[in-house]
C-alpha cells in the first residue's frame, strides 16, 4: 500500500465493502421476521432456529471451500480453460491472506460481502419450506446452495472472467439470476420432493390459504429486506478503479465505479434504478393483488429483482416498467404453478425470487442487446439468447436440479420431512408444553401467596 493515492483507494475500498455487510445483515433479520410471521404459532421457534442456524453453517463452509470455488471455477472448468488454481491459491481456507495480514486489506471484506449473498441464497429457500422440513435436512441444503451452487454460478456468470460472460455475453449486474433465480429454482426443486403442508390442498386439489399468523411481522420483515437490499446493491460494485487497473479496452485515466464485470457504472445510477424498480414492483403488486399487503411488499421485492440484471444501465423509467412487468408475471405464475402442480411455496419465494429473476435476465437481453458485457476484448456482447441460456443455467441447471437431487437423497434416507404426527402437533409442541407447565406452576405459586 505504497503512495497516498493507493493507500486512500485501498482503505476506501476496504471500508466500502465493510459498510455493505452490516447493511446486508438486515436482509437476514428481515427473512427471519418474515418466516416466523408466516408460520403458525405451533412452529415459531423451530422456524426461527431453522433460518438462524444457516448463518454459522454457511459461514464456516464458505470459509472452508466456498470462496475457493469462486476463484477456481470461472473457466467451468474445461469450458474456457482449466481450474484457476493460481487465482484460487490466495483464497483457500489455509491461505495467509484469509487471516489478519498487513499486506491484504481487501480479501476479508470481499469474502464477507460474498458470504452475506450466500446467506441470502439459503434464506430464500428457507421460507418456502417452513413447517414440514426437518431442520437438519434444511441445513444440509443450505450449505449446498449457500456454499456450493450459488458460488459456482457466481464464478461462471458473476466474475469478470467467467465463461458465461465470455461466451454468452451474460450480464447480471445486481444478481437477478446469480442469487434470485438460482435460489428460487433450488427451492422449487426441494418443494417438488418435500410436498405440501398437511391441509394445504383440498381433496379436489384446490389450494387452501394457510394465512400468516402475524401479517404485520411478515410485512415488516419484507420492509427490512428492502433496507438490507441497499447493502446488497452497493456490494455488487467495485467502488473505484482506474482504467490501468482494469487493463482492458477503456482508454484515458478517468477513474470509475464498475460492476463486478469491471464495466463502468455509477453509484448514482443504481440508487435511482433501485428506487424506481422498487416503485414499479410496489405499484403493480398492489394493483395485481388488490391491495393485499403481503403481495404488495413482495411486489416491491420482485420489482427490484426483475430489474437487477440491468440496473447498472437502464434508464429509471425502464427500471420502473421492467420491475412492474416482472412483478405481474411472478404473481400470476405463483398461483398458476400452485394450482397446476400442487406446489406449496409458503412465502412465494419461488415466484418473487425465481420467476422474477428468470424474467429479469431475459428482459435484460433484449433491452441491453449489443452492449459490451466486458471491458476486455473478445467477450460476447449482451444478447437475448445468451441471457435466456443464462437464465436456464441459473434457474434449472444450478438451481432446480441440485435442489431436487439433494432433497431426493435426503428423502430416501428419511431425513427430509418431519413425521406426520409432529407436523400436526407442531414443531414447538414439546417446548410449548414446558412453557405452559412452567406458567401454570408460577400461577399456582402466586395464587398460594394471595
Amino acid at each position: 500500500m505504497e503512495g497516498n493515492l493507493n493507500a486512500l483507494t485501498t482503505v476506501f475500498t476496504e471500508f466500502y465493502y465493510w459498510a455493505t455487510i452490516p447493511l446486508m445483515f438486515f436482509i437476514h433479520i428481515g427473512f427471519c421476521m418474515y418466516e416466523v410471521g408466516a408460520s403458525r404459532r405451533r412452529n415459531h421457534l423451530h422456524t426461527l432456529m431453522k433460518n438462524t442456524m444457516l448463518i454459522p453453517l454457511v459461514t464456516i463452509t464458505f470459509f472452508f471451500f466456498g470462496w475457493w470455488l469462486y476463484w477456481a471455477m470461472p473457466n467451468g472448468p474445461f469450458i474456457t480453460g482449466g481450474l484457476d488454481t493460481a487465482a484460487a491459491e490466495a483464497n483457500t481456507a489455509w491461505s495467509e491472506t484469509m487471516g489478519p495480514n498487513t499486506g491484504d486489506r481487501i480479501t476479508g471484506v470481499f469474502w464477507a460481502a460474498f458470504l452475506l449473498f450466500s446467506w441470502t441464497a439459503a434464506s430464500i429457500v428457507s421460507g418456502s419450506v417452513i413447517e414440514r422440513i426437518k431442520s437438519g435436512a434444511f441445513w444440509i441444503l443450505a450449505v449446498v446452495i449457500g456454499s456450493v451452487a450459488w458460488i459456482i454460478d457466481a464464478a461462471w456468470g458473476w466474475h469478470y472472467g467467467g465463461w458465461m460472460v465470455q461466451l454468452l455475453g451474460y450480464h447480471d449486474a445486481y444478481a437477478s439470476g446469480v442469487i434470485h433465480a438460482i435460489a428460487g429454482g433450488f427451492a422449487l426443486g426441494v418443494l417438488v420432493v418435500l410436498g405440501p403442508r398437511l391441509g394445504k390442498f383440498a381433496r379436489d386439489g384446490s389450494p387452501r390459504d394457510i394465512t400468516p399468523h402475524n401479517p404485520w411481522l411478515v410485512c415488516l420483515g419484507l420492509f427490512m429486506i428492502y433496507a438490507g437490499f441497499w447493502g446488497f446493491y452497493v456490494a455488487c460494485n467495485v467502488p473505484i478503479i482506474d482504467p490501468g487497473g482494469i487493463g482492458g479496452q477503456i482508454t484515458g485515466d478517468t477513474w470509475t465505479a464498475t460492476t463486478i464485470y469491471l464495466t463502468p457504472t455509477t453509484l448514482g445510477a443504481i440508487t435511482v434504478n433501485f428506487l424506481m424498480s422498487l416503485s414499479g414492483g410496489l405499484l403493480v403488486g398492489y394493483l395485481a393483488s388488490k391491495g393485499n399487503p403481503f403481495w404488495t411488499y413482495s411486489g416491491g421485492l420482485a420489482g427490484i429483482i426483475t430489474a437487477s440484471a440491468g440496473n447498472d444501465l437502464y434508464h429509471p423509467i425502464h427500471a420502473m416498467i421492467i420491475g412492474g412487468l416482472g412483478t405481474y408475471c411472478a404473481y400470476k405464475l405463483h398461483y398458476w404453478v400452485e394450482q397446476k402442480f400442487k406446489i406449496d411455496d409458503a412465502v412465494g419465494a419461488v415466484a418473487v425470487h425465481g420467476y422474477a429473476g428468470f424474467i429479469g435476465l431475459v428482459i435484460c437481453g433484449f433491452v441491453l442487446w449489443g452492449h459490451p458485457s466486458s471491458p476486455y476484448e473478445g467477450f460476447a456482447a449482451i444478447n437475448p439468447l445468451g441471457q435466456f441460456v443464462g437464465a436456464i443455467i441459473m434457474f434449472f441447471v444450478l438451481g432446480f436440479v441440485p435442489g431436487w437431487i439433494v432433497a431426493k437423497i435426503l428423502a430416501a434416507m428419511n431425513l427430509l420431512r418431519i413425521p406426520r404426527q409432529v407436523e400436526l402437533l407442531g414443531l414447538d409442541f414439546a417446548s410449548n408444553r414446558e412453557e405452559q407447565a412452567a406458567a401454570a406452576d408460577v400461577r399456582a405459586t402466586e395464587k398460594a401467596a394471595v
Binding site: 505504497e2 405451533r42 489478519p100 437438519g136
Partner: protein
C-alpha cells in the same frame, strides 16, 4: 519468541504479511474445523430424530393431536 512472529513494531509494514499466531498450522486448523462441522451435522440429525421419536411416543395418539389442534 512471539506466537505471531512479531516481536517489535520497529518494522516497515510493507515487509510484513500475516500477523496471526501459529502461522504454518493453518491446514491443521482447517482440517479440525471441517471435522467439527461434519460432526455437528451428525450429532444434530441424531438429536432431532430422537426429539421427534420422543414426541410421537408420548403425544402421538389421535386424542393428543386433536387436543393440540383445538388449542391452536
Amino acid at each position: 519468541m512471539a506466537t505471531t512472529g512479531i516481536e517489535s513494531w520497529a518494522v516497515d509494514l510493507k515487509d510484513i504479511g500475516a500477523i496471526y499466531p501459529f502461522q504454518g498450522t493453518e491446514g491443521l486448523f482447517v482440517l479440525a474445523g471441517v471435522v467439527l462441522w461434519l460432526g455437528w451435522h451428525l450429532i444434530q440429525i441424531r438429536a432431532e430424530n430422537d426429539e421427534y421419536d420422543g414426541i410421537i411416543s408420548r403425544h402421538g395418539d389421535d386424542a393428543s393431536i386433536n387436543e393440540a389442534l383445538e388449542g391452536e
